[in-house]
Every structure is written in structure tokens, then in C-alpha cells.
């Protein structure tokens, strides 16, 4: 059972429980019911009183070790020890089918490469540091759920780059566990070039794949404009940016 439904069902059962028991006391008849998982419960009458065998349900959802109820990847700060120029992103999720009103409780996932152009989780990646394997690592990955104002915030670092792709961040949006958008965003090349020449990124230098010639962003100038996140800030202090994700619900 999906966690939210489990909790919802639990809440309903908790609220309904006393009523069911009261009902049994009043009519005093033997009943049997079947739970949603097919586990039969039965009622036993002894000396005029009535009780029921509690329904059996799945043991889940399982809390994470340490008592955390949520996936550790649900986090604002996805930096996870990776160095780079700080980047704070605010996503605003809106519904294009509802006068651009905000969408709450949308899950926004992001992931991107580190300053050297490598992703966490992959094995045998070629790149500036040679072939690297980062299986078991989760840096620069995470998700947030949009709040009551439709916002989802992340703290990360400015992405580096790898051969063949413009500088980018991946994102996905789920609403009620349904995938509503898979896309990528990029940045002003003026800023990317400056960042990629700064001390932490300088070994790799400027991205050789420009946005307009990128296999993803380069196929539509209009899309590129809509996929470019505007930024404020500087290399010393880091950058902040906001990006509106329009989805059709």
C-alpha cells in the first residue's frame, strides 16, 4: 500500500474503530468482514460481549534506519560534500490548465553532474579525472515537495560539464505519484563560462558544447529560452535562481 494511502487508511480506521466496536455492542450479532488485502476477520461472541480479530495488513511502510520516515533523498541541500560555486534554486510549480495557479505537493526531483562532470550513482564514467565510478553515492541528487505556495527549494553547486552536453540540470515532476514533466534546464553561457573558469572548475575550463548546438537545448530557440534559468549573484557568494515549471493537470 502506498504510504500516503496507508496513513490515510490508518487514520480512517482509527476514527471509525470506536464506532464499529460500539455498533457491535449494540446489536450483539456475529459478523465477518474481509479486509482490502483479503485477510478475513471474524467476530467471536463470548458471554454476550463481542470483539473482532484485528485485520492483518502489510507491515510497511518501513521507516528508514534511524527512525527517519522519509527517503533521505528528500532534502533541500543536495550538495553532499561536493565542492563548487553555491547555487540556490527555487522552483515554482504551476498548472497551465488552471490559470497558472500553483501546484502544491508536487514532487520535484533534480540531479546533475559535479564540478568535474561526473554523476553520482554511475560506474565507469569517462571524464577529465579519467574513468570514475561513483556507485553508492547520491550527491547532487534529491527531491522536494512543493509547499503551499507551489515552491520547492534546493541548495546545490553550479554544475560542471562533460563532453558532448551543454551545462544542465535534470528535473522531473510528479503529482499524486504521476509523472507530469521530465526536462532539463540550463544557464546563461556568460555565467557558465565565468564559473567554469573559476578556481574550482578551471582544470576543465569552458564547456565546449554551447547551448545552441546542444543535442537537447539546441533543437528549438524558443525552448532554449524557456529552459534557461536566470541567475543573480557572483562566483564568490554563489548564485540564486528561480524557475517556473509549468505542467498540465
Amino acid at each position: 500500500m502506498e504510504r500516503k494511502n496507508f496513513l490515510k487508511t490508518f487514520a480512517i480506521m482509527a476514527a471509525a474503530g470506536p464506532l464499529i466496536i460500539d455498533g457491535c455492542k449494540k446489536d450483539g450479532v456475529t459478523k465477518s468482514t474481509t479486509s482490502t488485502t483479503g485477510t478475513t476477520t471474524s467476530t467471536t461472541s463470548t458471554n454476550g460481549s463481542t470483539c473482532i480479530v484485528s485485520p492483518t495488513e502489510t507491515e510497511g511502510p518501513f521507516p528508514y534506519p534511524g527512525g527517519k520516515a522519509n527517503n533521505p533523498l528528500k532534502r533541500t541541500d543536495v550538495t553532499d560534500s561536493q565542492t563548487g560555486v553555491p547555487l540556490a534554486i527555487t522552483f515554482l510549480v504551476v498548472n497551465v490548465n488552471d490559470n497558472c495557479n500553483v501546484v502544491t505537493n508536487a514532487r520535484v526531483d533534480i540531479w546533475h553532474c559535479n564540478k568535474d562532470g561526473y554523476y553520482s550513482g554511475y560506474a565507469n564514467q569517462p571524464g577529465i579525472l579519467g574513468t570514475q565510478t561513483y556507485v553508492g553515492k547520491t550527491w547532487l541528487r534529491g527531491y522536494q515537495v512543493s509547499d503551499a505556495t507551489g515552491l520547492a527549494n534546493f541548495s546545490t553547486i553550479y554544475p560542471g560539464w562533460y563532453t558532448g552536453r551543454a551545462t544542465h540540470i535534470h528535473f522531473e515532476v510528479y503529482v499524486n505519484n504521476v509523472l507530469k514533466k521530465t526536462s532539463q534546464l540550463t544557464f546563461s553561457e556568460t555565467i557558465s563560462d565565468a564559473v567554469h573558469q573559476s578556481s574550482l572548475y578551471a582544470a576543465h575550463g569552458i564547456n565546449t558544447t554551447r547551448n545552441a548546438s546542444d543535442s537537447v537545448f539546441g533543437d528549438s530557440a524558443t525552448d532554449l529560452a524557456n529552459e534557461t534559468m536566470s541567475l543573480a549573484g557572483n562566483i564568490a557568494d554563489g548564485y540564486t535562481g528561480s524557475f517556473t515549471i509549468g505542467i498540465a493537470i
Binding site: 528508514y64 534506519p65 527517503n71 550513482g121 554511475y122 560506474a123 547520491t138 505519484n177 504521476v178 509523472l179
Partner: protein, 174 residues
């Protein structure tokens, strides 16, 4: 016999019948993630099983690593010690890497969800084979006698994935 430098892998298969808390946690977390992440390759839920999704769109092979993120935190709790198998005196076997594998799943039926974690050891010296038992030594010990060894029985879901023949003189030099 010839000495060899080897790496072992142990495959822990987890499905609806698995009983430990660790296995159940991985089972549940990876299934929830499968329901989310498989949608990128299966819009509108047209296909039901991972194998059919993969056959229709090869990019779905990325679900192996994508789902791995949902269970990485659980695996980290193992502190690089394999669950299930132990050496002949009950010590857990250390692993260097754990690779998540989605064997099969079904978007409407969690009971058909089946996964595996492949635990890969670091380099080991295979000193001797004694029937089904391997006399092993870590490959990071100083070059001194006697060699610190342990004995591990070859068993189902355990395999040697790399093999490099070495002379006795080389043992302990690395």
C-alpha cells in the same frame, strides 16, 4: 595449486517472500521508486512488467541504477558487511561495492517485484581450494608469514567474478 587474485560477488535476491527487515525495506522502497521512475519509459501505464517496458524502450535499463538510489541508504547501514553469508567461523564478509539490480516488477502487482543486490568484494588472494571451501586472504596484508586467512564455502549465489593468476612470491606484495 596456483595462487590467484580474485574478486567475489554475492547476489542477494529479494522478493515478496523475503522476511528480514532489511530485505523488506529494500523491497518496499525500490517498488515505490519503480512505480515513479518507470513512468518515464511507460507513459500512461500501457505496459505492466519491467521486462516488457525494457523490451519496448531500452532506456528503461537505467532503472537499475535509478532505483538503486532509493535503497542506497539502507545498504549504507550494512557498513560494508554482507548480510546472509559468513565465513566458516561466522564472520561477515566485507564488500567493496553493492550494485542494485531490478530483476522484474509489475506496475499493478507488488508481489511480482523482484530485485537483487550484488555485493562485490575487494581483491582477495585465493590461497587454496579445498573441495567446496576456499582458503582466502585479504590482498592488502603486509608481506609477512603467516598469512592471515579465512575460509569460505562456495555456495549458491556466490561467484568469482575476476581471476588473475599470481605466483606465490607476489602474495602480500600489493
Amino acid at each position: 595449486m596456483s595462487k590467484a587474485k580474485i574478486r567475489l560477488v554475492y547476489k542477494q535476491v529479494i522478493d515478496a517472500s523475503s522476511e528480514s527487515g532489511f530485505e523488506k525495506a529494500l523491497f518496499q522502497a525500490s517498488y515505490q521508486e519503480f512505480l515513479l521512475k518507470s513512468q518515464a519509459y511507460n507513459r500512461y501505464g500501457k505496459l505492466k512488467t519491467f521486462s516488457s517496458i525494457k523490451a519496448n524502450d531500452g532506456r528503461a535499463n537505467s532503472l537499475h541504477y535509478k532505483l538503486g538510489f532509493s535503497v542506497g541508504h539502507f545498504i549504507a547501514q550494512l557498513n560494508n558487511k554482507m548480510p546472509v553469508i559468513k565465513d566458516n567461523i561466522g564472520n561477515k564478509i566485507s564488500f567493496e561495492a553493492a550494485n542494485f539490480e531490478l530483476i522484474e516488477s509489475h506496475i499493478d502487482d507488488i508481489s511480482l517485484h523482484k530485485i537483487a543486490v550484488n555485493y562485490e568484494t575487494g581483491a582477495l588472494i585465493l590461497v587454496e581450494l579445498m573441495g567446496e571451501y576456499m582458503l582466502l586472504a585479504p590482498d592488502n596484508l603486509p608481506n609477512s608469514e603467516p598469512l592471515e586467512t579465512f575460509v569460505l564455502r562456495m555456495q549458491p549465489d556466490l561467484s568469482i567474478i575476476t581471476y588473475e593468476e599470481i605466483s606465490q612470491l607476489e602474495i602480500g606484495l600489493n
